[in-house]
Subunit: 146 residues, 8 copies
Amino acid sequence: MSFTVYLSGEIHTDWREEIRRGAEAAGLDVAFTAPVTDHDASDAAGDHLGPQSEGFWRDHKSSKVNAIRTKTLIEQSDLVVVRFGDKYKQWNAAFDAGYCAALGKPYVTLHGDDIVHPLKEVDAAAMAWASTPAEVVEILRYVLRG
Amino acid sequence: MSFTVYLSGEIHTDWREEIRRGAEAAGLDVAFTAPVTDHDASDAAGDHLGPQSEGFWRDHKSSKVNAIRTKTLIEQSDLVVVRFGDKYKQWNAAFDAGYCAALGKPYVTLHGDDIVHPLKEVDAAAMAWASTPAEVVEILRYVLRG
Amino acid sequence: MSFTVYLSGEIHTDWREEIRRGAEAAGLDVAFTAPVTDHDASDAAGDHLGPQSEGFWRDHKSSKVNAIRTKTLIEQSDLVVVRFGDKYKQWNAAFDAGYCAALGKPYVTLHGDDIVHPLKEVDAAAMAWASTPAEVVEILRYVLRG
Amino acid sequence: MSFTVYLSGEIHTDWREEIRRGAEAAGLDVAFTAPVTDHDASDAAGDHLGPQSEGFWRDHKSSKVNAIRTKTLIEQSDLVVVRFGDKYKQWNAAFDAGYCAALGKPYVTLHGDDIVHPLKEVDAAAMAWASTPAEVVEILRYVLRG
Amino acid sequence: MSFTVYLSGEIHTDWREEIRRGAEAAGLDVAFTAPVTDHDASDAAGDHLGPQSEGFWRDHKSSKVNAIRTKTLIEQSDLVVVRFGDKYKQWNAAFDAGYCAALGKPYVTLHGDDIVHPLKEVDAAAMAWASTPAEVVEILRYVLRG
Amino acid sequence: MSFTVYLSGEIHTDWREEIRRGAEAAGLDVAFTAPVTDHDASDAAGDHLGPQSEGFWRDHKSSKVNAIRTKTLIEQSDLVVVRFGDKYKQWNAAFDAGYCAALGKPYVTLHGDDIVHPLKEVDAAAMAWASTPAEVVEILRYVLRG
Amino acid sequence: MSFTVYLSGEIHTDWREEIRRGAEAAGLDVAFTAPVTDHDASDAAGDHLGPQSEGFWRDHKSSKVNAIRTKTLIEQSDLVVVRFGDKYKQWNAAFDAGYCAALGKPYVTLHGDDIVHPLKEVDAAAMAWASTPAEVVEILRYVLRG
Amino acid sequence: MSFTVYLSGEIHTDWREEIRRGAEAAGLDVAFTAPVTDHDASDAAGDHLGPQSEGFWRDHKSSKVNAIRTKTLIEQSDLVVVRFGDKYKQWNAAFDAGYCAALGKPYVTLHGDDIVHPLKEVDAAAMAWASTPAEVVEILRYVLRG
């Protein structure tokens, strides 16, 4: 049994790498996908396209180019992991969770217990809440191996 | 032409009432719906159900009861307005936006320009960004009256 | 705000009537629907149709005629309540729950805590678990009134 | 012609193995999938995740982790076999059948004739009722070979 | 409980009127819809549109105009009755049945037992087979009244 | 039988009014809807929203506000009439036709025979091609009255 | 470019083989699928399953077993060819066409011009009408090669 | 990460080849698909099928045969590029864009800035507007590589 897992959300720590390493160490047949995680590249994703823009429209252009990737990868995945860190707004992560919920795409959240309350609606539609990358790996191990 | 508009998000200011008053003053045929906006009542929505719980599971129970209402109203609406204030995480608002995006349900955002950048993915899938309740009313007036 | 609620499952106690009375007493704008709850009539629903049958095929004919009603009412409802009593197999109730889950139709379960474990998959996809008709009424009151 | 078949339901006898052996003996190109069938492992599927829980919430956590697997495998399958044994409630099996029915996913039931009557709604939406694993194998042989 | 029932198929006998009268006599709250049943008018439905055509293209134009009506009415109905008489090909009736099957729209067939065998695929996906208009009325009475 | 008909496309002649008058004269129960047909108002639909923009982004803002109306009305209609005049690009009309085609929403085209060839893909997915508003009215009369 | 083509309908002539040979001769990358075309085997598809039945129920059992195959293959195909011969009712072929139409699955018909009129509704929703297997091959050649 | 990209629209310049070469030069794992771009072959796509036709019906036959290809390829693609040149009506390109929009299939437009205004509705639902094939290649490079 193989799985494709999309890793959504926070880009400032190496949680994606931890999950990848853990899955590899466990010998799991999982293909991981992710958005572009280079913050500056992501913000500039539409800069080569006209019209030259700043502020709202620059963000608009770049976000739509990024969405070509993220929307496709989310829809192709079997499971989405949505990570919330302890900084920043991370509204895109919550947006991805809502997107998954409406599609009926299963997702698990990954966050500390200090933000359980503000994430209650996001957690309510998730299949699981994990506190550490290791817990996510254990979920994957169980789901694929039993 | 009539419309049903769901007002999602921030519950600490009276923006919903401003939009309702504006639409009424303009004589628009709009029915507004909303989540339960009494914060304490919302947090306690599942307290009468077993098992008695605190923390994560209390939030879980209550969020799911709230979702019976919010999910139904979003799906029955013609348009969703998603409001982000200048405080709190408001991940549920971004979640609702993602939910709408996946359903193909049109939504507009309502927020100040100081949070344009962190909301770029949410705005990218929106039909419009409004800065004030009056702008939302003007959108409704145009859409219903031309 | 009004709601249509389908009452699925056990037909040997008057739980449907209790919920109806409770909703009426609370002044809620809820329309309740249900399968045919007369056991003998339900078993005989296809008897007037050919070919005359016994056993498996009699059940088959009657179940399909019943499904014309139940499938339509479930799809037209805003919420489904699925009741499990303390006797009988009640596989049709679990079937309805799975049907709702796949449609994305919100449902709540109604059952005693002695059958929590065998109902864990059914409860896992539900929006709430209620132990008494009064709890269901309270869910409806909250969802419709806040 | 190849098929993916999900084997849902009863976990106390070796019916899955019988079907697998029969399909192999017949040289059929069928990939079989299944839920985790180790009862204790399944009940404990969420135990490594917070918050530590007993009773309803322990079941809730584990059932959702299991659903990541079962929901995905059901949706990826071409056919589902739903097995009901002569003991236990097996509401999860009926739930899976209802889930398939709403998706338009074909399923066949596998059960003795002593439970034909309580399973009438489940059988009514099935493509076939088989009494033995050998009959299921024969269905597969016919469907794949003609 | 009210129902909308689309009456598809054979146009040479007054079976539609029999069902209408029976439902009225039984006091059922059913709205009946149907294709245009005037054969000549139906064949000429596109004659006022260019280009002037005969044979295949005349049929093509008219059938598409008719489909504006039939497709809409089928999708708006709660139940479809598909009638096969003892003459003519009536492929449009079987086409409507297949259309319903793919939509998950419940339908019942109405035909004599001399054509059970050639209609086996059509009957297999139906919720019931009725032999007379009176049997259809009895199905409606049961479904609406219990 | 009643119908809701969305009138898409060309805004420089009074074809919408001709169809409305014809349907009224024929006593048909049809509700007509349309985009905002005041060209200047339509181009300025987003001008009250930030950021102040010209060229591409002004068009972008306004088109999305217009889409709130057009998308909703198309999805609520039973039939769409797509009109192509003899001037201008009218890509929005062809866009609406493609949108209908993918939704399975029936549409008819209304255009002169001098543009049959460039409209061949649009006509191929339509239910009818009409050359005059009177022909559209006749289609409506037939579909509603037979 | 490769295609999967399901060949539905008449089973008394070798039209399937003609199309296969033609596609092979043209070097087209097409995988052909079909229902079980052995008439007796098809009628007996459910005979090994209980309860032992004759007439309507025998047909019912067998048709449902056949539908496991046909429904899956139709949904997996890129194109369906529906063949009507000059004998028999062939309602299953028209049923398949209607099924395709509702799914938005493209299909072409294959039949003589003597049955154009009774097939007008089936042809109206088809992408093409072919009179000979060679014409079907030419359609495939064009679609895959240009 | 690999992608399938459908190249819709204008057939008089070699923009498809430019994008193909650019993607190849960048070493991107992209499979490109397209409609038949030989204008005469496309117009004659149905000429081998009866009835022999000219004008509207010839166009009708050929467009439907072409649609077997285009509809399938659009639905199988991850991204669609819709190209508008400076000549001709190109309504089929706008039709494809509307088709994508309704499916939720991401598309980007490719056109000069002199036609920004008439394309505003088409651009409003696009994920990006590119002015040159090189810009499309850069979008692909970013989406696949980050």
